[in-house]
């Protein structure tokens, strides 16, 4: 083992430990702000793993998008909706927690068995490309051209959808509605809601 490999293994160990610790913190902390900040830690550790895999562009994109945009957005949302709410502890909550833990451990065991048992089709060691940017660009404009272009339509639609959900509703003009149809100011499904069952009724009253 030469020096480079040693450094790689050590940094992998550090990054993995950091990531697992941060991820556990995201799940286990009671305060949601801590979870949000630790989520940023998870993203940064992941980008470190990408660098170890020679994927420098992906690592940069990971930090820019996930830490810079997604995580900051999550923090904004938390800060804006920072409503103190005390929830009543549900009786028998530990049963749910235990069941969740059981499912998670089982899934983890299954997936790790799979990783170890599967004969992975590993090709010869890949030499690092000169520049990953050029490689990615070539893929984007050759065999992944169509997904790349379709992603633009997807983003356009996501943007329009976000605007629709977030914007203020317009009040319909009187003259547009006056001619034949009754004035509509409902913004609801035309169907009436069902008669509410007692549980839903009580939750409505609490509001």
């Amino acid at each position: 083992m030469n020096l480079a490999e040693g450094v790689q293994i050590v940094s992998f160990g550090i990054l993995a430990a950091l990531m697992i610790a941060a991820a556990l913190g995201v799940v286990l902390f009671e305060k949601i702000v801590y979870s949000a900040f630790l989520l940023g830690g998870v993203f940064i550790s992941i980008s470190g793993l990408y660098i170890l895999l020679n994927a420098d562009f992906v690592a940069a994109a990971q930090i820019l998008i996930y830490v810079g945009a997604v995580n900051v957005l999550i923090l904004f949302a938390i800060m804006l909706v920072n409503k103190e709410e005390v929830f009543k502890p549900i009786s028998g909550r530990w049963i749910r927690k235990a069941a969740t833990a059981l499912v998670c451990v089982g899934l983890f065991a299954l997936l790790s068995t799979m990783v170890l048992a599967t004969p992975w089709n590993l090709a010869a060691p890949i030499t690092a490309p000169e520049s990953t940017l050029i490689l990615i660009g070539k893929h984007f404009f050759s065999d992944y051209l169509l997904p790349f272009e379709l992603a633009s339509v997807l983003l356009l639609m996501a943007m329009i959808g976000a605007i629709i959900i977030a914007r203020r509703d317009f009040i319909p003009d009187i003259e547009a509605a006056s001619s034949d149809q009754p004035l509509q100011t409902v913004w609801r499904l035309p169907e009436r809601p069902r008669e509410l069952t007692p549980t839903q009724g009580s939750s409505n009253q609490r509001k």
């Binding site: 299954l110 799979m114 050759s142 169509l146 959900i165 035309p190 169907e191």
Partner: protein, 524 residues
């Protein structure tokens, strides 16, 4: 320089002309709405319909194209994909017809609704032809994200919010699971994303029967089953169907489902050809559960939308019989049934929309005595429901016969018998509605129907609704009697698709290989 010229000759970009037309239509709708303003709502739906019909025509021209692979094998425009893309585009067309009045009545803006619906259509069409894992995932997400947006489109209604949130959360989880399975496939094949390359790599390497492939298969099927709402993955369906705007429900139950089936055929037959025994087994279980649960729970529903939601789960179970059969007849019976299902289900939804626009309710008990007030609506809804149930002269009967016949030919006796029994159950709840509308004496009329206003077809947006009802009525009635062209179309689309034909050739070999080594456990 030579990179670009090399690529340009291999793109064969003409294969996605129909999708290109849809993209242009989206942009046209958005820009016209931006420039002209609210008054454009009068003619924008017709622009969208014209675009979709032009796309269908372009699909027709691509029929039997000599070079079906495009974008360096990233997209496969073979006849199978053309059939499914046509189904998705047609379902969007009929959905727009029924949505004009509904969206206006709910006070939301029409242009964005149409644009998002077209984007969902685009995703569905690309999904039907995608031949590459990345392409599959991006197309699937285009379809899904547009569907989430449509589900929550009436944002002032808490039911719609609830439906959108549920659909988003469950959908995101299922996308993640699907992505995990697909990434395993990428790893097992040694870094291939193309479906054909994956199939060859799996056949050559020794990852063919490993635990990894089994998990990849299960995860991929989980993602697909969410799209077609097969039973263990159906929990979102009733709530989402109840809370979403009804035209969206109609599109989800036909267009989105058809795209899911196209994905199932292409992904499972090509990439998972090595484990075809296993996925046949899983899909048999899914089909049994869907048929039983969908049809039995539909019996107990009091809301029309919920009943149609559960019945669409049951119908997906019937379609899966053709998929499990795995023969030419099986696949073509799927396409044939989906084509017919398009018209009869969308017809039923159009009638439900008209009724709820007139009365503001969709309770089944409120339909009683409707015959006295609105004969056209009663006739159309009765015929669509009877056809969904599979009553003889209508199209649904022939579709079901074909499905069951192909299943019987393939030796799926138990499944076909179960299908027959559950379709008898389904006839009961469909007929209940018909009986409610037709048989009741005038004095038994429900209060809602007594106050039923006369239908004014001259109101803006009502004419497309009428056209939608009449078109689906005619199609449902005549497609059964004059079904030969449709049969030929479905058969040809299967026979001319190299994907399914090569799968059929390799399947006996694969089966022989499995039976030889069947005593060896799957886990190595």
């Amino acid at each position: 320089m030579d990179f670009s010229s090399n690529i340009a000759t291999q793109l064969n970009a003409g294969a996605i002309l129909p999708e290109g037309i849809v993209v242009v239509t989206i942009l046209l709708v958005l820009i016209c709405d931006l420039i002209v303003g609210k008054s454009s709502a009068r003619w924008l739906p017709y622009v969208a319909i014209a675009g979709l019909l032009a796309s269908v025509a372009a699909l027709w021209l691509k029929w039997d194209a000599t070079e079906s692979l495009a974008f360096l094998q990233g997209f496969n425009g073979d006849d199978l994909s053309i059939a499914f893309r046509g189904i998705v585009a047609l379902s969007a067309t009929v959905t727009i017809l029924m949505s004009v009045r509904y969206v206006e009545q709910s006070g939301t803006s029409l242009a964005e609704f149409i644009a998002i619906l077209l984007a969902a259509t685009l995703g569905g069409m690309f999904l039907s032809g995608a031949n590459d894992l990345v392409m599959i995932f991006v197309a699937l997400e285009t379809l899904s994200i547009s569907s989430y947006l449509l589900t929550g489109y009436t944002k002032r209604d808490p039911r719609s919010n609830e439906a959108a949130l549920k659909y988003l959360l469950i959908g995101a989880a299922s996308s993640a699971i699907f992505l995990y399975g697909v990434s395993l496939l990428y790893g097992l094949s040694g870094g291939q994303t193309n479906l054909d390359a994956i199939a060859t790599a799996l056949a050559n390497g020794d990852g063919g029967e490993s635990l990894g492939l089994a998990i990849a298969l299960v995860f991929a099927i989980a993602g697909i089953s969410f799209k077609i709402s097969a039973v263990p993955f159906h929990q979102w369906t009733p709530d989402v169907y109840e809370g979403s705007p009804t035209p969206v429900v109609a599109f989800l139950s036909v267009g989105s489902k058809a795209a899911g089936f196209a994905l199932a055929i292409r992904l499972l037959v090509t990439a998972f050809g090595a484990v075809s025994e296993e996925w046949h087994f899983i899909f048999t279980a899914l089909a049994i559960l869907s048929m039983i649960l969908g049809n039995v729970v539909a019996l107990a529903q009091t809301s029309m939308k919920r009943m149609l939601a559960y019945s669409s789960i049951g119908q997906a179970g019937f379609v899966m019989i053709g998929f499990i059969a795995g023969t030419d007849a099986g696949y073509s019976s799927m396409i044939f049934y989906l084509l017919i299902y398009l018209f009869m289900n969308l017809g039923a939804f159009t009638c439900v929309i008209l009724f709820s626009l007139q009365t503001g309710t969709d309770q089944i008990s409120d339909y009683s005595g409707l015959y006295q007030k609105d004969p056209l609506l009663t006739l159309a809804l009765s015929i669509c429901l009877l056809s969904l149930g599979g009553i003889p002269p209508f199209a649904g009967f022939f579709g079901k016969i074909y499905l069951f016949w192909s299943g019987w030919q393939a030796g799926l006796y138990g499944l076909v018998l179960l299908g027959l029994v559950t379709s008898v159950v389904s006839i009961y709840y469909y007929i209940r509605v018909v009986k409610m509308m037709v048989v009741k004496e005038p004095q038994e009329m429900s209060e809602t129907v007594e106050n039923y206003p006369e239908v004014r077809w001259s109101l803006p947006g009502m004419r497309p609704l009428q056209v939608g009802i009449v078109v689906s009525l005619v199609a449902t009635t005549l497609a059964g009697i004059l079904s030969n062209p449709l049969f030929t179309f479905a058969n040809n689309s299967v026979i001319n698709s190299p994907v399914l034909q090569s799968a059929k050739l390799t399947q006996p070999i694969a089966k022989a290989g499995i039976s030889e080594t069947s005593d060896r456990p799957i886990v190595q």
